[in-house]
């Protein structure tokens, strides 16, 4: 049997960071991962991460995975075993896995289990129907494999995952009909909620799903309002036409392997369900076994990476006597800072049940406001929630944004120092920074918004200005579009000054256009576009749009098309050429002609 100094189960953010740390301290380490490449669930995260600039804040999830993967492949102490499914842990730190249809056994001095979590189930009528998917499954299909996960979605749960999923679906061109949330308030960060609200996705609070509709797969959903005891209120049910329902009601740790390794687990709902009991440095009740990441508590990738590092530093101490004491202290301080904000109340109380106390840093949260400078192009920071992130402060080349030592503080802009460069708009993971300049003399305002959708608007284009809730406010004119390598572009547009605090998104005008030619499915808009491009001959319009050329031979639409042409050109229908009518005037199968006929 192969003997390793350290085995890591799971190559997600926690496992990868653990491996790098162990490798750097001279520990021979193997990562066992079930997938073809490591990265865990980071590979499907397209959004930029919050956090400390030193910990990959403002970097997209899949890019963090790439960076860690590169570091791992350079480190000679780390071996990666892909496509390796761990099926059990046995006495003497023996890990059994299968690969390519074969069983393998390895032993290790120390084991780091970083198996992560999976989506919680939500049983409702037909919740087992194909098309009811975990939010993560939708992300996998869409962001990892580039497959359209569905056409019309309903999302259950407004935590960060549900909110991020809604945004990602829209980026992929999928319609999101609504997000339903059982509680009376949005579960995730405000900035994530704002991102989807201004795109027009309603978040229905105090609502739940009652039933998925469909025989073989989802064709709709029934949702209803619920009372404060989470019971559906009769008479409030309504049907939604959707083809996919995404469940994002939370994650729960995958503790099976830890349990087999003899780690004691306890049910601590604040941390996600059953979790292995462990000390501050991630050691479980089995002294040879450590845990990190979502397995230890459901949080996010940044804290998972720090935990992976802490576990690895402690393991290295055990294995080869590395002096990692100071490093551990430093990482523990960072972790405490991340968990010190109001959004981490649940995690703190969960950890406390385990005997781990998070000391709130003495550095106070500062939320001061500075004088704005009207009429100058400057940043507008709409980040009023205390979340651990300092991307804007770190990105500003002019020191105009201040957060301070406690990264839970909300950012403050020194408008005097701000040069209007837009770097912070591009960096903010919450897309919560805008650029603004009042043009007093013409009573307009120029607003720059972060834009991560396709197609990208062009200068001079007319668009709709949408409110924070995604409603139409006024027309806007695109002034300029600044492209950035990280794909968060900035679109600047001008509109009447009275809407400067209302408009927060620009959208292409939505025009519904009736179908004129039902055989060839040609809309009024398509026909008008051809005529507007200078084509005024009926025969030419036919060839360009295929109107009148379907099975009905133009019986349905010829007059309508001529009417449109007449209206647009001012030439009466009687004066227009209306084409030639050729046989067959009804659909006839080819075999009729093949057989030949007899002349009667």
């Amino acid at each position: 049997m192969n003997l390793y100094q350290a085995v890591i189960i799971g190559g997600g953010p926690a496992g990868m960071m653990g491996a790098i740390t162990l490798g750097n301290h001279g520990v021979k380490t193997i990562i066992l991962d079930e997938n073809e490449s490591i990265g865990g669930q980071l590979v499907k995260q397209t959004h930029k991460f919050f956090g400390d600039h030193a910990h990959y804040a403002s970097t997209r999830g899949f890019e963090i995975a790439q960076k860690l993967d590169e570091e791992i492949s350079k480190n000679k102490n780390i071996e990666v075993e892909n496509n390796a499914t761990v099926i059990g842990i046995y006495p003497n730190n023996t890990v059994v896995y299968t690969k390519d249809g074969q069983e393998h056994k390895i032993q290790a001095k120390k084991i780091l289990i970083a198996t992560g979590a999976m989506e919680k189930q939500l049983p409702f009528i037909n919740s087992d129907l194909p098309g009811v998917y975990g939010a993560g499954a939708v992300q996998t299909l869409m962001n990892e494999y580039g497959i359209m996960p569905g056409k019309r979605f309903l999302i259950i749960g407004s935590g960060n995952i549900g909110l991020i999923l809604a945004y990602q679906l829209i980026q992929a061109g999928v319609e999101v009909r609504a997000i339903v949330e059982a509680l009376g308030k949005v579960g995730g960060y405000d900035v994530h909620a704002n991102k989807v609200k201004r795109l027009g996705v309603p978040i229905l609070l105090n609502h739940t799903i009652v039933k998925a509709i469909g025989d073989e797969s989802v064709q709709g959903a029934i949702i209803a309002k619920i009372d404060d005891k989470f019971q559906t209120i009769p008479g409030t049910e309504r049907e939604m036409v959707v083809d996919t329902i995404a469940i994002s009601v939370g994650l729960t740790p995958l503790t099976e392997l830890a349990e087999q390794a003899g780690c004691k687990v306890e049910f601590i709902p604040e941390l996600g369900g059953y979790v292995p009991i462990r000390d501050e440095r991630m050691r479980t009740t089995n002294p040879d076994v450590f845990i990190a990441g979502d397995l230890s508590s459901i949080e996010e990738a940044t804290t998972a990476m720090i935990e992976g590092k802490i576990a690895a530093l402690e393991m290295a101490r055990d294995i080869n006597g590395s002096d990692t004491k100071e490093e551990i202290e430093e990482e523990l301080r960072t972790l405490a800072l991340f968990r010190s904000g109001p959004k981490s109340v649940k995690i703190r109380s969960g950890l406390e049940k385990m005997g781990i106390k998070i000391s709130i840093p003495t550095k106070p949260i500062i939320n001061e406001k500075k004088e704005d400078v009207i009429g100058k192009l400057r940043a507008v920071l709409e980040c009023d929630e205390e979340i651990p992130c300092n991307s804007c402060e770190a990105s500003c080349p002019f020191g105009a944004i201040h957060i301070g030592e406690n990264l839970n503080s909300t950012p403050v802009l020194d408008a005097e120092k701000c040069t209007g460069c837009g770097t912070c708009v591009n960096a903010c993971p919450g897309l919560a920074i805008f650029m603004m300049k009042e043009n007093e003399e013409e009573s307009t305002v120029t607003l720059g918004i972060p834009y991560e959708l396709l197609p990208l608007p062009e200068k001079g284009q007319k668009m709709w200005g949408l409110s924070k809730e995604g409603n139409y406010v006024c027309d806007v004119t695109v002034e300029r579009v600044v492209k950035y390598p990280n794909k968060t572009n900035i679109v600047y547009a001008k509109f009447p000054i009275e809407f400067k605090d209302t408009v927060r998104h620009f959208a292409f005008p939505k025009k519904e256009s009736p179908i004129v030619c039902r055989c060839e499915e040609v809309s009024l808009e398509q026909i008008e576009k051809v005529i507007d491009s200078g084509v005024t001959d009926f025969e030419e319009i036919k060839r360009l749009t295929r109107v009148t050329m379907g099975p009905c031979g133009g019986k349905n639409c010829k007059l309508v098309v001529l009417g449109i042409l007449s209206r647009k050109t001012g030439v009466p229908i009687s004066k227009l050429s209306h084409g030639t009518s050729r046989p067959p005037v009804k659909p006839v199968e080819f075999s009729v002609f093949k057989k030949g006929g007899d002349d009667k």
């Binding site: 194909p130 499954a137 299909l141 580039g146 025989d215 396709l454």
Partner: protein, 103 residues
């Protein structure tokens, strides 16, 4: 047909070689590197099996190999997680009926 995403504001999908496999004897196009479940989904196929007792249709749930909702019969072997199995040229995939035989 659910189809594939051709243009994306953030991601670039570098598709590998086009291959063919069979679902219930029907030829399906896929790209190397895709899982069976993903390729089927792209072809509009969401029902991956019928449950052994109640005969209810079942499809993906987690798509990362945890939930065992997507078990299929792949190249004659039952109970294979179609979300973790990469599609291969000529592979024969069937909706699983029943629990699968031991031999």
């Amino acid at each position: 047909m659910e189809g594939r995403i051709e243009q994306h504001p953030i991601l670039q999908f570098k598709r590998k070689k086009k291959i063919k496999f069979y679902f219930e004897d029907r030829e399906i196009e896929a790209f190397e590197g895709e899982t069976v479940a993903a390729a089927l989904h792209a072809a509009g196929i969401r029902v991956l099996r019928h449950t052994p007792n109640l005969g209810r249709p079942a499809g993906l749930f987690c798509a990362i190999g945890k939930c065992s909702s997507c078990l299929m019969e792949i190249d004659g072997i039952p109970n294979v997680r179609s979300c973790m199995t990469k599609v291969k040229e000529g592979m024969r995939v069937r909706r699983q009926k029943g629990k699968g035989d031991v031999l």
